[in-house]
């Protein structure tokens, strides 16, 4: 029985499982109550105010709130995910066990992504039910590709938050992640701005920022969904692939920083 250690996937899943449990016990999912109240109120009242446009309003409002709530969780839980472990010195007992620092980071990341997935899925179900309630069952099914894209956008925001928190304070990490989220959502405008510039240096800088920061506009399909459109499979697949590659790069940087860190 002695002198054993779990296999690598099992160790990572153990860390993920605990990160998910931590989020649940820290009442992160309580935001769902607020969301359900909001979406129920919108289904009942806003539809009547906008004369026949209830489905559009529910999709726009529901998915936007889903994105905003998810972004808040990604940023605020993401920046404290690793920092809290160091500050509360829980890393002392964790790293005396046969677990590598890289495994720990990946495990914590997956745990938070799992929390976000549950959050996003429940919110998506809420929006779908509201749409069924107002009699637009066909749109209730069409929102799911957009929900999936939002989830993968949140995985990038989470990876950015964890990366900043591996070498910075939570407050600064949250601020920087928020900037990345804002710039990332307007990255196509950033490129247009770069192309319209006369100075080569300024154009280079803006183009550099465009390529380095995540292009989160790939994941935005809320307005189109509210108009009854569904994104092509190639767009969804391409965006998911982009998110996965971007997440892997960010996590690699995080692990490289974290493995060199002294826990004083």
């Amino acid at each position: 029985m002695a002198n054993e250690s779990a296999r690598l996937p099992s160790r990572i899943l153990t860390i993920s499982r605990n990160a998910f449990r931590e989020a649940v016990r820290d009442r992160i999912l309580y935001n769902l109550i607020l969301f359900v109240l909001l979406i129920t109120a919108s289904a009942i009242f806003l539809g009547e105010l906008s004369a026949g446009q209830e489905s559009r309003v529910i999709v726009n409002l529901g998915l936007s709130v889903l994105l905003i709530f998810g972004t808040f969780i990604s940023i605020f839980v993401g920046v404290s995910l690793v920092w809290k472990e160091i500050e509360k010195r829980t890393v002392y007992s964790i790293f005396s066990k046969p677990i590598g620092r890289g495994e720990f980071i990946v495990g914590k990341y997956i745990g938070l992504c799992l929390t976000l997935l549950v959050n996003v899925a429940i919110m998506g179900i809420g929006v779908s039910l509201a749409l069924v309630y107002v009699g637009n069952a066909s749109l209730a099914g069409k929102i799911w590709p957009a929900v999936l894209l939002i989830f993968f956008e949140l995985t990038i925001v989470t990876a950015v938050a964890i990366m900043f928190s591996s070498f910075s304070t939570p407050a600064l990490s949250a601020l920087l992640t928020f900037f990345v989220f804002i710039i990332g959502n307007f990255s196509s405008s950033l490129r247009e701005l770069a192309q319209g510039m006369n100075s080569t240096v300024a154009r280079g800088v803006f183009e550099g920022v465009y390529y380095v920061l995540p292009n989160l506009s790939h994941f935005s399909f809320i307005t189109e969904t509210s108009n009854g459109m569904t994104p092509p499979a190639s767009m969804v697949g391409g965006s998911i692939l982009y998110a996965v590659v971007y997440d892997i790069i960010l996590l690699t940087i995080t692990v490289l920083v974290f493995t060199r860190r002294n826990f004083k």
């Binding site: 002695a2 002198n3 250690s5 153990t14 605990n18």
Partner: protein, 319 residues
């Protein structure tokens, strides 16, 4: 017997300050070997480098210079951790978990199945004296002493060959200290090596086979505890205890013996001499005064005296 911990010229510098960074040496060229199957006491004053050493051994911080091996494997080898245990000073755990959940979480990291985890958890929580009614309470509701017990239990989850304990008795009441002392002694009987840092000298005296004393990040003394106490560079003193006489009756005669001192005690006296050839003279004086001998024993330096001497600020005392 082979060494289970081999520390070679280990140093650690910390950087302080924001702009003008200054380097502070917390550990300075520590070399130390620990034999298996014993309780090794790691002593030193505040800031001597004890916790820094243990953190280096656990790879929580990285050495500036030097190297160390545990069970023959470099400290950077994470898989070696499957054979060791660690109980940090003032244990910090996920306070949203219960003791059972925490033990289960750590058990999973070692790859134990559900039945093994449950069995180990119950065995260990019981052995550290944590009442069953508290097992399902969140750790945030635990007292310091209860957390210390959970800290010990989790360090034993994988049946380690060597356990590193940083101040394991801190926060425990006298009864708790005795229970944990018995637990530690029991582990040694099972062949487990204990590397224990503590400030509580009575625990060191009661438990440890060998000790190392750190002073300002350097090794001040190390070796077998009784050897250190006897061969401390002081003159060997013998204490002769007699009864049936008062100290005042024989004081004048005793003080004729070179280097002898006499102390009064109820119904008798203690006479300290530096030369064993003087025993006969002391006995003669005692008998002539109507008293008799009760014991003769070499007077050992106390661990407290040794500790104070080796950790005092006079650098000339460094070995």
């Amino acid at each position: 017997m082979e060494y289970v911990v081999e520390i070679s010229d280990l140093s650690k510098d910390y950087e302080t300050g924001f702009w003008k960074k200054k380097r502070v040496r917390a550990l300075d060229g520590l070399s130390l070997n620990v034999r298996g199957g014993q309780i090794f006491g790691f002593l030193g004053g505040n800031g001597a480098g004890k916790t820094t050493t243990i953190k280096l051994l656990m790879s929580l911080i990285f050495p500036t210079e030097g190297s160390a091996k545990i069970l023959g494997r470099d400290i950077s080898d994470v898989q070696m951790h499957s054979r060791i245990g660690y109980c940090p000073e003032n244990p910090y755990f996920y306070d949203y978990l219960t003791a059972i959940e925490l033990m289960d979480h750590f058990g999973r990291l070692f790859g134990y199945d559900a039945a093994q985890r449950r069995l180990r958890t119950e065995e260990l929580l019981m052995s550290v004296g944590l009442h069953e009614k508290d097992w399902k309470k969140q750790l945030r509701k635990y007292s310091k002493g209860m957390l210390q017990r959970v800290g010990l239990a989790q360090s034993l989850i994988n049946e380690p060959e060597i356990i590193f304990m940083d101040e394991p008795m801190s926060g425990l009441d006298p009864v708790g200290r005795r229970e944990i002392r018995e637990l530690i002694a029991g582990l040694r009987e099972k062949g487990v090596t204990i590397f224990m840092s503590t400030h509580i000298l009575s625990d060191i005296e009661a438990l440890c086979d060998e000790v190392a004393i750190l002073r300002n990040g350097k090794l001040a003394a190390s070796g077998n505890l009784s050897d250190l106490l006897e061969n401390s560079g002081e003159e060997r003193v013998l204490e002769v205890s007699v009864q049936g006489v008062t100290a005042d009756t024989i004081r004048e005669a005793v003080e004729f013996i070179a280097g002898a001192t006499i102390f009064s005690k109820p119904n008798g006296a203690n006479i300290q001499i530096l030369d064993e050839n003087d025993i006969d003279a002391v006995l003669k004086i005692t008998r002539e005064a109507g008293g008799h001998l009760t014991s003769i024993q070499p007077l050992k330096q106390s661990l407290e005296e040794l500790f104070v001497k080796e950790t005092s600020s006079d650098p000339k005392k460094l070995k």
